[in-house]
């Protein structure tokens, strides 16, 4: 180790991973992954979300799955929970929409209204 900068680089690389283990106020992205969700293509959506988070090196974002959300016809469903804000539910998500949700909602803080459950109903 020759410099603090070198240490800092390793720290940044490892930090995101270790942060997942703190149960503090992380942004949570939850994908419905029960039988119908998986049938409707939730798995590629999950992968797309994870890739996007990784590509942008987002810290403090947890991508997780949940069981049946209760509206099978609108699957794949993705819920975004930002601490201190109301939960946003996105429906009929595909990998492309997933990437957009990350860049717009998570990074820029703008809800992508056209994909939300409100717009679909």
């Amino acid at each position: 180790m020759k410099s603090l900068a070198e240490l800092e680089a390793i720290r940044n690389k490892a930090k995101g991973s270790v942060n997942l283990r703190k149960d503090d106020n992380a942004v949570r992205i939850v994908v419905g992954m029960a039988t119908c969700g998986i049938a409707a293509g939730a798995k590629p959506v999950m992968t797309a979300l994870m890739e996007e988070v990784a590509k942008r090196n987002l810290e403090n974002v947890a991508v997780t799955q949940t069981g049946c959300i209760g509206v099978c016809r609108l699957e794949p469903i993705v819920e975004v929970m930002v601490p201190g804000e109301e939960k946003v539910t996105y429906v009929k998500v595909d990998p492309k929409k997933a990437a957009e949700i990350i860049s717009e909602h998570i990074v820029n803080g703008r809800v992508v209204t056209k994909y939300t459950i409100g717009a679909a109903q």
Binding site: L4, A14, D23
Partner: protein, 597 residues
Amino acid sequence: MDMVRGHILCCGGTGCTSSGCDAIIKEMEAQLAAHDLEKEFKVIKTGCFGLCALGPIMIVYPEGAFYSRVTPEDVKEIVEEHLLKGRVVKRLLYAETVEEDNIKSLNEVDFYKKQKRIALRNCGVINPEDIEEYIGVDGYRALGKVLTEMKPQEVIDVIKESGLRGRGGGGFSTGMKWQFTYNSQSDQKYVACNADEGDPGAFMDRSILEGDPHAVIEAMAIAGYAVGANQGYIYIRAEYPIAVKRLGIAIAQAREYGLLGKNIFDSGFDFDLEIRLGAGAFVCGEETALITSIEGHRGEPRPRPPFPAVKGLWQKPTLLNNVETYANIAQIILNGADWFKEIGTEKSKGTKVFALGGKINNTGLVEVPMGTTLREIIEEIGGGIPNGKKFKAAQTGGPSGGCIPTHLIDTPIDYDSLMAIGSMMGSGGLIVMDEDNCMVDIAKFFLEFTVDESCGKCTPCRVGTKRLYEILEKITSGNGTMEDLDKMEELCYSIKSTALCGLGQTAPNPVLSTLKYFRDEYEAHVRDKVCPAGVCKKLVKYEIIADKCKGCSACARKCPVGAISGEIKSPYTIDPDKCVKCGVCMDTCKFGAIIKK
């Protein structure tokens, strides 16, 4: 960076290893592969979470689901339900963490809520075999800061200012010790770490080394820079194989990353470490004995002065600190002395790790701010005494410490208040006793330990502790006299003032403190020839109450020595001369007709 969506933390501490965590980790890896999930989840083997009695323990993040007593058969269910479908397996959750239908955050659970984790901050959080995880939680930043921005004296000043005191038992100011070693002029100096951990009830040093070995390595490098040493030794007992292995891995990784070795952070400072294995004698934890043992001789204490800070390893100035003491250093450097000073009491700053054991619901490791009361530790963190029994005393300081009785349960725990009531902090063993424990027997237990562990170099300890033990033996057999009690007390004081090293000087403490607070119990043994708690076998008598006995003969058939006789349907009797007091008959009788007196 690879993105994984979940981490599966499996405790790989000594407790969970003996309850079978390795088989669970293997099964988990197999199940993940079978479900095509191995890229999405990362299995991390960590150090001790502190709740060893509930092991093997597994925590799944990001949910923070705390699974306890996991078996290999449970793993498939966790994978299929939780990891695949997102349904937490409720029946395996540690009950304390479930609130209505939600998982409580671990920090909200009683066991963790009152804790403040500084020395244990990374235990159970990171993979101790991966240096990058340590770096990810700010590891080696303190070393970087010290080497690039601070002069040695500045480092010492921060440690002094923080008020940190040695966690190995003595409670000596760490900053002062660093200063003395710094002040000693010499061409060569050493730093050493005491990981001998001889107190039979303590295992915090082991857990720190197993769960966060880099914290100790980083602190030793900082200490080396501060006092002017470039070689360090970690003295650890060979009975800690997991800790030894992880420490070895950690040292190798630190070398590979240039965090040990030559010219660290391009500062011109060189530092390296070696592990030395001890045979596990209690006396080798004493500093002068430890130093002789590292040099390759028989571990026997020698008189002080000279102190190690002046003449230590190979007659060179040597800084010796305990594992837990070191585990606080990097945090103090990073957060500042003022941050540390805020925690604790006036003269005891920071936190202390205790190994909670004995008659307590949550046995395990807890780290609390100094000044936390015994009551908080026992009732809130420890979850109280099992089976509705009553608290009787707590023993701190192991074989060098004493017992704290019920009326002192609100004593804030720090170095000085424990001393004031005749116990001591020691290394942090905390054994809880209830009404079924006999205090004379407890004193005898610790004395037996010291008699075994006395190195024999000086007479007061070698002969004196033996005599003490014999008197205790006499009392617990019902042959003691009231004069014995006074004689014993006198002997205690003379051993204390004449023994050569700390082992002998503190050995009488368990006797003195029980005599002070539980004299009535000693007197009962001597005068009435009874053991009130019913522990001392020679004083216990089993009897059948004729009125309650239905004459079923169950007890007679179970008695291993045939001491019970009688005729069916009429009351049975026990022959006291034959009875070996095993207690089987009492457990057998369905009618509560057998009593212990």
